[in-house]
């Protein structure tokens, strides 16, 4: 009988081409996504005069720089128009499937991959984007890479990697009403810290994780990188297989049945060893918001803004004070009731159909008292939302319904939070200046962002009768 293995071990082992004496492994890569920002990687490939190894395993998606308005008009910013053109040129030249601005499949790469059935259990997947960890929700090993690694994958369809350590995070129990995948992952990051999983691949386990639908699992795995993890994974199960079946690029018929049989062998074996274990009780997780400029500053919405004077460690005290100075909050005040200037509902973290439904459920029949932007993660999500009338709910509430893309999460496509403005956002990073120079971001779930829009302040969605 062989040694019990983790989900991660099984996927890693199935992709190891060779391992050098120094322990570095050459890994086969099953799927590679590129976007407008990948031009540096293509440039290096061209500079070295090398061809693309496997264009059939590469997909190009326009998402980071795409404008969320006036999609039918030429892009005004010449630098952004040039980024789009470079992606087009590189995709065409190398024979890569391109999901361009006018493509009915277009959207954020981490929404598109699963939607098109390109994301499957047991695959290795990479993209020049740190939120590639998202795809681990299907039991894939998926991680972000830099431009040099992009060029390496383009040229060889492989990557040199050191085997990371494993961390299992078990969340058992039942989540309370109005507590979503976003609250789970924020609570996890709040517990282990922004560097808490550096060098590790996380496996999320436990009944609360198994109880999440695929979109909630995608949200959880998406923010693995915000805890410093190399990747996040969830064991595939019937929920996963049902979601994958029938997707355009997924296996069909007998091939699908054979795939499911293989995927059922992926979950971690009984007795498999992890380098570290962390457990959380689902019932303890409340709707969660961040107060600072790192996702690790996540607290229950019922908490008070931390007081640096109460922090015994000098370095941590300074860090709290610096963050409070930037974010403009007073120590000891309740987080709930903090006035906000704007909401953003979208991003690769929270722009799928159930996310939009959760926000719409709060906004239906209500008005937002601050401006806001809702951006579906993809064209298919947008069309499905419109078919349900969700766009009307958002518009009737006074929010703008944008065209699919990364939008106000990344501060590079024209959707910006103004200097000094405070934004309730469903995205993944509250870094200083992330949503635009001087922007102040509070991360939260779609339902909580909708509640914030209605009250014009950080609000416990459970109190919004």
């Amino acid at each position: 009988m062989s040694e019990p293995r983790t989900l991660f071990d099984k996927v890693w082992d199935a992709h190891a081409i060779l391992t050098r004496e120094d322990g570095t492994t050459l890994l086969w890569i099953d799927r590679h996504f590129v976007h407008e920002g990948s031009f540096h990687g293509f440039g290096m490939l061209d500079h070295a005069g090398r061809p693309l190894a496997r264009p059939d395993l590469t997909t190009a998606v326009a998402d980071h720089y795409v404008p969320s308005r006036d999609r039918d008009q030429p892009i005004r910013d010449p630098e952004v128009a040039n980024m789009m053109q470079m992606l087009r040129t590189n995709a065409t030249r190398h024979g890569i499937d391109l999901l361009d601005l006018d493509d009915p499949r277009q959207g954020i790469v981490h929404v598109v991959g699963p939607e098109q059935g390109l994301t499957l259990p047991g695959l290795t997947m990479v993209c020049g984007d740190s939120h590639t960890s998202t795809h681990g929700a299907f039991g894939a090993l998926a991680f972000g890479i830099g431009a040099s690694e992009v060029s390496h994958v383009l040229a060889t369809q492989t990557l040199w990697q050191r085997r990371p350590k494993t961390l299992r995070i078990t969340v058992d129990g039942t989540l309370s009403p109005h507590v979503a995948g976003k609250d789970v992952i924020l609570a996890i990051i709040g517990r282990i810290g922004a560097g808490g999983a550096v060098g590790h691949v996380i496996e999320y386990a436990g009944s609360a994780i198994r109880g999440l639908e695929m979109e909630g699992r995608l949200t959880v795995c998406n923010m693995s990188i915000e805890a410093g993890a190399r990747a996040g994974m969830i064991a595939p199960d019937d929920t996963t297989f049902a979601w994958v079946e029938g997707r355009a690029r997924a296996p069909k018929g007998d091939a699908f049945a054979a795939a499911v049989a293989a995927w059922r062998r992926l979950p971690s074996d009984e007795g498999a060893r992890f380098d570290r274990e962390v457990t959380l009780n689902a019932a303890d997780i409340a709707p969660t918001v961040t107060w600072g400029t790192s996702p690790e500053t996540a607290l229950p919405v019922t908490a008070l803004v931390p007081d640096p004077a109460a922090e015994p460690d000098a370095a941590r005290r300074t860090r709290i004070r610096e963050q409070l100075d930037y974010i403009g909050l007073e120590p000891g005040r309740p987080l709930e009731g903090t006035p906000i200037d704007r909401v953003f509902i979208g991003s690769c973290t929270n722009a799928r159909l159930p996310d939009l439904r959760a926000a719409a459920a709060v906004l239906r029949g209500r008005r937002a008292v601050v401006p806001g932007l809702v951006v579906a993660g993809s064209v298919p999500v947008k069309l499905a939302a419109e078919a349900e009338g969700l766009d009307r709910v958002f518009r009737d509430a006074g929010l703008r319904w944008g065209e699919p893309g990364c939008s106000m999460c990344v501060g590079m496509n024209g959707d910006l939070v103004a200097p000094g403005e405070r934004c309730a956002a469903t995205s993944n990073r509250n870094f200083q200046g992330r949503q635009g120079p001087g922007s102040r971001t509070h991360l939260m779930s779609p339902a909580m962002a909708a509640a914030a829009a209605v009250r014009g302040a950080i609000t416990d969605v459970r109190n919004l009768a």
Binding site: G146, G195, I225
Partner: protein, 193 residues
């Protein structure tokens, strides 16, 4: 890539944790070609928002930060900005995994030091110090010498300046054999047409 052996140069301390790559280079500069001079974008907003930011009015070859330096976005532009500004080495108690990988590909040395030792070093800065990569020693400004750990492969790449892709393509036969085996083992792994 400039091969790396021994470096003596000015070191500056950044006394903060979780410096993300959005701070190292704000997103709006990532559309620029490398020829635009990425050194101009290094800590662009922090340098303007904080008059006393340690790099203002100073040049450095070595940065010494607190834990989780380079967390967040995978942007390799963060490494370009550091390298183009003349930074050859960053020392911290831990690094974002993707940042550290990107650094290695661009000849930027990342050295992991235990948090108390990194804090002790920052307390001696700004000052000149020496990094001996082949010998894996740091010569602190106060004259003390400390060893550090280093991935042997990464060390060889930094010292010899190896081309990763060329190195990988030397394994073409093994890669081809893997693909042959894999087609039988995982016929479902290829995307449906």
């Amino acid at each position: 890539m400039t091969p790396f052996t021994t470096l003596t140069g000015p070191a500056i301390g950044l006394d903060r944790a979780n410096i993300d790559t959005d701070q190292i280079i704000p997103a709006r500069f990532l559309r620029k070609p490398r020829s635009a001079g990425y050194q101009n974008f290094l800590f662009h907003d922090l340098r303007r928002e904080e008059a006393d930011f340690p790099l203002n009015g100073a040049t450095a070859a070595i940065l010494v930060a607190d834990s989780n330096f380079g967390c967040g976005s995978s942007r390799e532009g963060a490494v370009y900005a550091l390298v183009d500004a003349g930074i050859r080495c960053v020392i911290a108690p831990s690094f974002g995994d993707i940042f550290a990988g990107n650094a290695g590909k661009n000849g930027l040395l990342t050295i992991v030091l235990p948090a108390p030792l990194a804090a002790a070093l920052r307390a001696q800065l700004p000052a000149e110090m020496t990094i001996d990569l082949p010998g894996q020693h740091l010569h602190f400004p106060d004259g003390t010498v400390h060893s550090f750990d280093m991935d042997p492969f990464r060390k060889r790449c930094l010292i010899e300046g190896l081309d990763d892709i060329g190195l990988t393509l030397a394994h073409a036969a093994e890669i081809a054999a893997f693909q042959e085996r894999d087609r039988t083992a995982r016929p479902w792994a290829a995307p449906s047409p």
